[in-house]
């Protein structure tokens, strides 16, 4: 197991969620579930984060914010769409102002449906995301090696 999977730092952004999923994200940090057991830290800084945890659907207003956060995160990084709104738009899908799920603007790696998601599902998603993080790291390394050998 690499270092990346032992200390995933998460940045949590609430797109336009009803706060249900956000409460569950906080519940995962609380004594009952305590995700810090796995080294997960909820950081407010995209430049320190490895995992982008997005709740709520995407609309015109939060689209630039989401992109801004994503672009400020250092590679390798993973996006989790948490809750049914973030995966597809959920019950707000038909609204005139809603673009849809997080995958309309970002490359989403893990989808976590649920309204609202349970903390167990969030922890499961982070564990999945950590696996993808390691894969991305290996891919970055290979890219670098091939670039060096070509040069």
């Amino acid at each position: 197991m690499g270092m990346l999977s032992r200390s995933p730092w998460v940045i949590h952004y609430d797109g336009s969620s009803c706060n249900g999923c956000d409460i569950e994200v906080l519940a995962a940090l609380m004594p009952r579930f305590d995700v810090e057991r796995f080294g997960v830290v909820n950081t407010g800084n995209p430049k320190h984060a490895d995992i982008f945890l997005l709740t709520g659907s995407i609309n015109e207003q939060n689209k630039p914010v989401v992109l801004n956060i994503y672009n400020q995160m250092p590679e390798p990084k993973v996006v989790l769409a948490v809750g049914i709104c973030a995966t597809s738009g959920g019950i707000f899908r038909e609204c005139y102002n809603v673009l849809g799920g997080a995958d309309k603007v970002l490359p989403v790696d893990v989808y976590v449906p649920g309204c609202s998601v349970r903390p167990e599902a969030i922890i499961d998603a982070v564990v999945k995301g950590v696996g993808i993080l390691e894969e991305k790291r290996a891919a970055l390394r290979n890219n670098l090696k091939s670039a060096v050998s070509q040069a």
């Binding site: 270092m3 609380m30 004594p31 305590d34 057991r37 800084n45 430049k47 490895d50 790291r137």
Partner: protein, 283 residues
């Protein structure tokens, strides 16, 4: 105390400091009713940061943090090889200045405010540290750390006020509540991450390692108050650290005015009375 303990500090302090940081997170989690991360979590964090992309705002911002690390190592090396306490404090101040300059250099509003607060924190702890050095000189007759350690009685009996002042500023150096203004382990949303906002990847790992050195050095100053007996010193250092964690988890962050005011008042009243007492003692 000789050159070898100084060299030992350079190599062992990051390991010990990382363990202290892990211990800190574990105990803090227990105080909050959580299980907490593994003891080696800080090492995993730094290992991960070394594998991440290094995003920079300005290329030179890393240089300041490298100076910070080098000066912290120098500070500790002089201290642990039994050198001059005044030189140690001077080198320590220089290290802090470079840390703050790095925050200013990154020139984002968050790291800028963080750096300003870091400077205020330095202003707050400086009097207590200086007075502690003066008090130790008045008791032992020497500024050399080696002579202070060799003093036959625990210094705490002669310097209770200065010890109180030192303990009061300890949360500043460990970046703990109530004085974790510049950057904090908790409450990550405030000021984003303060002075370290614009640092990521390898540079952030560097800062973490510098903080580990800093932890060991600051605990070393605490050890000086009980240095007459090695075991007493080690046990009391642990007790001080434990108390610090309880204070951290029991208090909320104060504003900088309260930090500066209270740190100076405690340093000048408790420390000042202590020094007057020592002067009377001398006759």
């Amino acid at each position: 105390m000789n050159i070898f303990t100084g060299i030992a500090f350079v190599f062992l302090a990051p390991l010990l400091g990382g363990l202290v940081a892990g211990f800190d997170r574990k105990i803090s989690a227990r105080l909050q009713g959580r299980i907490g991360p593994p003891l080696f979590q800080p090492f995993y964090d730094v290992g991960k940061l070394l594998q991440k992309e290094n995003l920079v705002v300005r290329k030179s911002q890393r240089l300041y943090m490298e100076f910070f690390l080098v000066l912290i190592i120098l500070t500790g090396a002089i201290f642990f090889s039994g050198g001059d306490l005044l030189l140690v404090i001077f080198a320590f101040t220089m290290a802090g200045v470079f840390f703050a300059l790095g925050g200013y250099k990154a020139s984002s509003p968050y790291s800028f405010i963080g750096a300003q607060r870091e400077v205020l924190q330095m202003m707050s702890y400086e009097p207590a540290v200086m007075l502690a050095a003066v008090g130790m000189y008045m008791v032992t007759g020497s500024f050399q750390v080696a002579d202070i350690v060799a003093y036959p009685q625990p210094l705490i009996f002669k310097l209770p006020g200065l010890f109180l002042a030192f303990f009061f500023i300890l949360p500043i150096k460990f970046r703990k509540s109530p004085f974790d203004l510049a950057t904090s382990h908790h409450a990550h949303q405030e000021l984003v991450k303060g002075i370290t906002t614009e640092f990521s990847g390898r540079t952030l790992a560097l800062i973490e390692i510098a903080h580990w050195y800093e932890y060991i050095f600051v605990l070393g100053i605490g050890y000086l108050f009980f240095a007459s007996n090695v075991w007493l010193g080690l046990v009391m250092t642990l007790v001080i650290f434990e108390l610090l964690l309880v204070v951290d988890n029991a208090t909320a962050r104060v504003r900088w005015q309260a930090m500066l005011g209270s740190a100076w008042v405690v340093a000048l009243i408790a420390g000042g009375l202590n020094i007057i007492y020592l002067m009377l003692l001398r006759g």
